[in-house]
């Protein structure tokens, strides 16, 4: 299947993912559950054989369910953050996005605290917790952002250009996209969140993780 047709297939069946994901509300971060479900959908699109005479949805739903369950099993195994802190991080994440939507710019820590009814220390704790969260696996990160077109990265200034490009290719799609937008296209985190349709805290997490990964690779660690 050509890439454009594949993207159309994925987009056309995204509702299936949300439908299945609804059954797992409360079981882990919903955003991550949807991402995992998307990976299942992409697998289904790539492996569906119309010649077998079954409907696409019949084939796709078990793929999506399987991917979500796999994700939940994985994340349950490695959760290190207390439930209260995770809840706090979700609350802070929503508050940041709500305040940004209302005012057109990211809020200060004091504004987040006031609006969320918590202390500034709690907001800072939530920011730390956001970065300590269980990394999603490579496949899961590919989810919602996989269909985005990749620009060629402008790296003329960088001497170790080839090794950077090589290292970039090992990043999950979402992380690579965030690095490109943030560091080469000069977008702010807030703009990237808006452009990709994900939360600002998710963008923070992706970019920090990507930079650490690149740094480790480039330093040969």
């Amino acid at each position: 299947m050509d890439p454009a047709a594949r993207d159309r297939e994925i987009a056309a069946h995204i509702g299936l993912v949300h439908h299945v994901a609804r059954h797992y509300r409360g079981a882990g971060d919903h955003e991550d559950v949807v991402q995992a479900g998307l990976v299942g959908l992409i697998h289904a699109v790539d492996h569906f054989d119309a010649g077998r005479g079954i409907a696409f949805s019949t084939y796709a739903v078990p793929c999506i369910t399987g991917a979500i369950k796999h994700h939940l099993r994985d994340s349950a195994r490695s959760i290190r953050i207390p439930g209260r802190t995770q809840e706090l991080a979700r609350h802070v994440s929503r508050t940041i996005d709500d305040l940004t939507a209302a005012s057109g710019r990211a809020p200060t820590i004091a504004q987040i605290a006031a609006s969320a009814g918590i202390t500034q220390d709690d907001v800072l704790a939530a920011i730390e917790a956001n970065h300590a969260r269980t990394p999603m696996s490579t496949d899961e990160d590919a989810g919602a952002l996989a269909a985005l077109a990749m620009d060629d990265v402008a790296l003329e200034q960088v001497e170790d250009r080839e090794s950077v490009l090589q290292a970039m290719r090992t990043l999950p799609t979402a992380e690579r996209r965030v690095v490109e937008l943030r560091f080469y296209a000069g977008r702010s985190q807030t703009q990237i969140a808006e452009e990709l349709g994900v939360s600002q805290m998710q963008v923070s997490r992706l970019q920090a993780r990507a930079l650490k990964h690149l740094r480790d690779l480039l330093s040969g660690a």
Binding site: P107, I112, L124, I127, E128, V158, R182, Q189
Partner: protein, 124 residues
Amino acid sequence: MTVALHLPADPSYAAVARTLAATIAARCHLTYDRVEDARLAIDEAFTQVVTNAPPGADVVCSFIEEAGALEFMVQSLTILTTELPRDTFSWTVLAALADELHATTIDGVLTVVARVEEPRDEAA
């Protein structure tokens, strides 16, 4: 207001510098995205300085707190005999995160100074 921190030249202490950077960035009334930029910038600067430090060196991180801006300096003895290279990925990242960025190698001491601020026209 200036806050300073002495840390061993060990990459695992970057987390301490990050946490302090976020706390002070909040006091500077930076917005959330700039707080995250400050966290990443100090992480990157700290790593650069530590990577080029001799064994057993100390790193000084100091922060200047202003309304709408955070300036930090990361400094240590260095094995570098030239300026910190500007044509690396790390420098590209730092330059994108910071509004102002300087690095000097003088008498065996490497200093990286960066400033993260709110856009002036939008500052509340």
